[in-house]
């Protein structure tokens, strides 16, 4: 909400500059800025009167004007369509500067000399009308500095009015806050209303269908008005808040709305059929052409103002064209009503039509100001448009206002704003009942001490403050009007012992490990395209959650998998010529389960490109399945998850031969695999991307954060290697499992150091090199003891896998 300083001064004395005032209101009310005139650099532009206008002899679109700026007079060639004799305009004399640092000099246009240039708002940097030269109006003196004149006029503050403050949607309401913030009194608008017979009551009929939608409606009639231009003071005030002057009647309705925050509407009385107004809901499909020229189709959510023939206005939102005030209007029907905030809001939202009026009604206008506002508008129409105000008004409905009184404990105010005792320390002067009253009364609250309890103030809330309904609201008024700076900050102290969220700690722990393993954490969007889940390998039976109003129509679902986002990151980074991609995300996936919505934490990751960081000595090997599997195994070791077992895994996106389900303690925790060529193509990613997905819920129940100490081995270990030649179909995991089963207690470690299949072996065979380590906790083992254990294992393996030993 903008408010010109000059306008504010109609109601309150202001000695501060616009920026000082903005700063003060920012401290006591809400964020307030000054709206700067973009006059930087413009100089030497003076006010001049156009004396005569003639066509340029050699150019249709140019005029030759004689201009008078007090100190001199000369001819200027001008191309603007709106130039006319008598107009006060802005003349950029030779030697002056206009916006963009453009220097003006004498020029010759189509053979005629031009002494400077007549300029537009845009060229002055004071507005955005570039269609013609700026009309300064009659109030400026000849030769006056235009920027100086406009600048002082346009000193304006812009108040970020919060959704709960209807009163500040009017200049008067802001003036009240200025008065409170600067310790000045508030002067309410004063006007005298002269009324003449006949009675309004006989001239118009008003009915309200539902008094919930419209608890009160006031209609007044002003006869014999003359539509014309508004006086300078009115245009100037509207101009200072960025509202264009249209004609005196429309300007008056805008002025009154901007003054009080209460919208009023002027209808052409003679265009109202049957002189009957009814306020009712629209019927489905009913139509109305609004003032902005739009043909609107309405439904039951819209509240209408109708006459004998049909809709004439959207109540609280915008008038209709058929009853609009025009140049020929001579009798006005003035509407000043209270419409239900949520009805107006829904209606305006449904039509995407947020008007100045609807923004005020939806906050809830002052229910007790309506008669005054209507009177103010009538008085102005009488004064400025020569109208005769008809006696009385037609007022229907009793309003829905109920006075609010709040019992405020002064002690409670003190405890909230000036605490001491257990936590606080004594802090400066204490708020007492008198101080509390004073803070509230400057804002229009009325207070009196409860005769029965001196701690209690009974506070009457003014009608323009629907946001204040209980003591907490009053405490805010006291806190802000004295300034939050005055509240003493207390040192926080601890009295609670925070509880841990173990699942979350586990996720943090896992995230740390993944980073240690050299992966970058990514965070991707929660949204997903239709069908992306299936394409990413999610089971078809998983039901995704659908957004009713997605911001991106291509991504209407909540993700059922992290994979689509992950693959997109792989795609964009591969396209950005990255040589290696190592990324993971820990995030939520969503699915519908009947009525319920399930949210589950998942980790997904991808490896692609170089296995080693490129360096002068490194190999150019690309990552493969075992890099990813090894990474997950390393994670498993760090989490002290006993063993991660791999088994066959089928997925829509993974390469059949290179994907594995991972289980811990018999229950599945996730999978790892190479994206199949076909899927890679469909996702637009390069070949050879290895991905993994792990269920954080399953994993977090299995891990151990702390290790357990055991005596370090005191006796040396003995190693034995063996190279087992087996059928290529025998899985390494089976061999290791068998060793584990039959190894005996002396076997403490085993690892595979080589797998070979090739020319040196018979077809269909492979050799698996295994290193075994034996140790006793009690003694140094003799070679014989080790050999015995080792041979036992070798025997079991050769039998079980019909294997031979390789030299």
């Amino acid at each position: 909400m903008k408010a010109g300083l000059k306008w504010l001064r109609d109601y309150v004395e202001i000695e501060l500059s616009a920026s000082e005032l903005a700063e003060r209101l920012t401290e006591t009310l809400t964020e307030t800025e000054t709206t700067n005139l973009q006059s930087g650099g413009v100089s030497g532009v003076v006010a001049a009167r156009i004396v005569t206008v003639e066509k340029h002899p050699d150019a249709d679109k140019l005029s030759v004007c004689v201009v008078d700026w007090g100190d001199g007079s000369d001819t200027v060639v001008c191309g603007a369509p709106n130039v006319q004799a008598g107009m006060m305009c802005a003349l950029a004399l030779p030697g002056s500067t206009i916006t963009g640092g453009r220097r003006i000099s004498e020029a010759t246009l189509r053979g005629l000399r031009s002494f400077g240039m007549l300029v537009s708002e845009v060229e002055l940097g004071v507005g955005d009308d570039a269609a013609g030269i700026m009309d300064l109006g009659p109030d400026i003196e000849l030769g006056a500095d235009v920027i100086g004149f406009l600048g002082t006029n346009a000193d304006t503050i812009d108040v970020d009015v919060q959704a709960n403050r209807p009163d500040c949607m009017g200049v008067l309401g802001i003036a009240r806050e200025v008065a409170a913030a600067t310790g000045r009194g508030l002067k309410r608008p004063s006007f005298e209303l002269a009324e003449s017979a006949p009675e309004t009551a006989g001239m118009i009929d008003v009915t309200i269908e539902d008094d919930h939608d419209c608890p009160r409606y006031i209609a007044r009639v002003i006869s014999g008005i003359k539509v014309g231009e508004s006086p300078a003071w009115l245009r100037e005030r509207l101009d200072s808040v960025g509202v264009r002057s249209i004609n005196n009647i429309v300007d008056i309705t805008n002025f009154v709305m901007l003054e009080y925050g209460q919208p009023v509407h002027a209808f052409d009385y003679d265009r109202i059929h049957d002189h009957a107004i009814s306020v009712r809901r629209a019927r489905s499909g009913e139509k109305l052409v609004t003032l902005d020229g739009e043909d609107r189709t309405l439904d039951q959510s819209h509240l209408l103002i109708c006459d004998g023939a049909g809709p004439i206005a959207l109540a609280g939102i915008m008038g209709g064209q058929t009853s609009e005030v025009t140049q020929t209007t001579s009798n006005v029907l003035l509407e000043c009503a209270w419409f239900d905030p949520s009805v107006v809001r829904k209606g305006a939202q449904g039509l995407a039509l947020r008007s100045d009026a609807s923004q005020r009604f939806e906050r809830g206008v002052d229910p007790l100001a309506m008669d005054e506002v209507a009177g103010r508008a009538c008085a102005l129409m009488s004064d400025l448009a020569g109208g005769t105000v008809r006696r009385g008004s037609v007022s229907v409905g009793s309003g829905s206002y109920e006075p609010v009184n709040i019992r405020l404990s002064v002690d409670k105010v003190r405890r909230m704003l000036e605490p001491n005792g257990t936590r606080g320390e004594e802090s400066g002067p204490r708020l007492d009942a008198a101080a509390v009253s004073e803070h509230l009364e400057v804002l229009g609250f009325q207070t009196k001490v409860d005769p029965g309890d001196s701690d209690i103030l009974v506070v009457a809330v003014p009608s323009w403050r629907p946001d204040v309904t209980e003591s907490a609201d009053l405490i805010e008024e006291i806190a802000r009007s004295s300034g939050y700076d005055r509240v003493k900050a207390l040192v926080p102290y601890q009295s609670l012992s925070p509880v841990r969220d173990e699942a979350r700690d586990a996720r943090g722990h896992i995230r740390d490990i993944m980073v240690r393993l050299g992966l970058f954490e990514i965070i991707t969007s929660s949204f997903m395209a239709e069908g992306a889940g299936e394409r990413a390998g999610v089971d078809g039976s998983v039901e995704a959650i659908v957004l009713a109003n997605p911001v991106n129509k291509e991504m209407p679902l909540l993700r059922t998998s992290l994979m689509p986002g992950l693959l997109e990151v792989v795609r964009t980074n591969a396209n950005a010529s990255q040589k290696a991609i190592r990324v993971f995300e820990i995030g939520k996936v969503f699915r519908r389960d009947g009525k319920a919505i399930e949210e589950q934490w998942i980790m997904a990751g991808a490896l692609w490109g170089l296995a080693e960081r490129p360096s002068w000595g490194s190999s150019a090997r690309a990552v493969d399945f075992y890099d990813a599997k090894g990474l997950i195994e390393a994670l498993g070791r760090e989490l002290k998850v006993d063993t991660l077992e791999a088994s066959c895994y089928d997925s829509a996106i993974l390469d059949e031969g290179a994907s594995a389900r991972l289980s811990a303690g018999g229950s599945p925790v996730g999978h790892v695999g190479t994206v199949s060529q076909r899927s890679a193509e469909s996702w637009g990613i390069p070949d050879g991307v290895i991905v993994f997905e792990l269920d954080m819920g399953a994993l977090s129940t299995k891990y151990t954060a702390e290790g357990r100490y055991e005596d370090l081995p005191r006796y040396p270990a003995s190693g034995r290697d063996l190279a087992l030649v087996v059928d290529v179909g025998v899985a390494a995991g089976e061999i290791l499992g068998e060793i584990r089963r039959c190894g005996g207690e002396l076997l403490v470690d085993m690892s595979i150091f080589d797998v070979y299949a090739g020319k040196q072996l018979p077809a269909g065979k492979k050799s698996v090199g295994i290193s075994l380590k034996y140790r006793s906790r009690e003694r140094t083992l003799t070679d014989e003891e080790v050999d015995r254990s080792h041979e036992l294992i070798v025997k079991r393996l050769t039998e079980r896998f019909t294997a031979t030993l390789r030299e």
Binding site: E27, E31, Q162, A163, S342, K346, M416, L417, E418, P419, R423, G424, S427, E470, S471, A472, D473, E476, A479, R480, Y484, D485, V487, A489, L490, V491, P492, Q494, S495, L496, D501, R504, R511, M514, V515, G518, L519, F520, E521, I522, I523, S526, F527, I545, V546, A548, V551, N552, L558, N573, A576, A580, I581, R582, F590, I597, E599, S615, W616, G617
Partner: protein, 334 residues
């Protein structure tokens, strides 16, 4: 042929130099100097060449054989622990392992959480798909009230919505526990806005709540000042000014002195010298009633801040959308 041998020398040098252990070195030796090595085959094929060429190639073969032998010797010495001696080019870049990094948003969250944990707050989480009650109604956003305008909401078909702030976690915690409560709720939130450089449709917030007997506005101010000093240093200027949030009363906007111009005014702070960082206030009694607390018995404060925004201020990132794009070049910078 001579060219081929020259190339062989280059390859061999590289491999001898990079052999990491005895076994690899032996493999490299077999490859380049073994019986079936290219060099050996070339030597054996000399006889088939015309005499002139034979002499020339022969000389080259011998020379390279000697050089390769020298490489082998050097490599053996290197593996035997002779590092640091002559032959080691100390200016060659070393071999680095892969190093990963947490996402900048995660790190900012951790930094914030760390401060609040030291101030006695515990972390609480809630669902991303919320209902109207927890996201709005209980937080004193009446239906069809303009206060909802700032919260462009994603609705879920079949009911529900994506939380527009982390404040519903307050409600969930208060519904299930009795005061005293001191929590922070970090996490992802959603606004149905077309993303631009300063607005994402998904971003991160951190919410704080303290409810106890006789919690005062002074304590809120104290905890916020303490937090901001931990974050930015003891000399940071902090300003509280009136604001409006339906679920707090009184409400405050919290500004910190602009970190770029130190309060003098610059383009980042729009010449005000201040940057808005937090919203805060005393919990509105209507919120307490919605969760079944008695506002005459308890009071509390709540605050919320934008994690992305703090991260942007700390790192100079000027487009919030970069956080969810995950360009590795971007992630490596932060």
């Amino acid at each position: 042929m001579i060219d081929r041998l020259e190339k062989l020398r280059g390859e061999a040098r590289k491999q001898f130099e990079s052999a990491a252990n005895e076994k690899e070195l032996e493999d490299v030796r077999v490859l380049f100097l073994g019986r079936k090595s290219e060099l050996n085959l070339a030597a054996r094929g000399l006889g088939k060449l015309p005499p002139d060429e034979r002499r020339l190639v022969g000389k080259a073969v011998n020379q390279i054989k000697n050089e390769l032998a020298a490489f082998l010797g050097e490599a053996k010495e290197r593996l035997a622990g002779g590092g640091g001696g002559p032959g080691l080019d100390l200016t060659l870049p070393g071999r680095s392992p892969w190093v990963g990094r947490k996402h900048p948003i995660t790190r900012t969250l951790e930094q914030l959480e760390d401060i609040f944990k030291r101030l006695g707050f515990e972390v609480a989480l809630g669902p991303h798909v919320e209902d109207d009650f927890h996201n709005f109604e209980a937080l004193n956003f009446p239906k069809d009230h303009p206060a909802r305008d700032a919260h462009d909401t994603f609705y879920v078909e079949g009911g529900g919505l994506l939380r527009t702030h982390t404040s519903p976690v307050q409600i969930r915690v208060m519904q299930t526990r009795k005061p005293p409560i001191r929590i922070i709720a970090p996490g992802r939130v959603f606004r149905n806005e077309t993303p631009d450089a300063s607005h994402g449709s998904e971003f991160f917030q951190l919410e704080g709540l303290y409810v106890d007997k006789n919690v005062s506005f002074g304590e809120l101010k104290g905890v916020l000042i303490k937090f901001l000093r931990e974050l930015y240093g003891d000399d940071v200027g902090v300003r509280l000014r009136p604001g409006f949030f339906p679920f707090t009363e009184p409400s405050a906007e919290v500004d910190v002195e602009c970190r770029i111009c130190h309060g003098k005014g610059c383009s980042v702070c729009k010449d005000t010298g201040w940057v808005e960082l937090l919203g805060a206030g005393m919990v509105d009694p209507r919120v307490f009633r919605a969760v079944g607390y008695d506002p005459d018995e308890v009071s509390g404060y709540a605050f919320g801040l934008g994690v992305d925004r703090i991260c942007m201020m700390m790192t100079g990132v000027d487009d919030i959308r970069l956080f969810l794009e995950n360009d590795l070049r971007f992630l490596r910078q932060l």
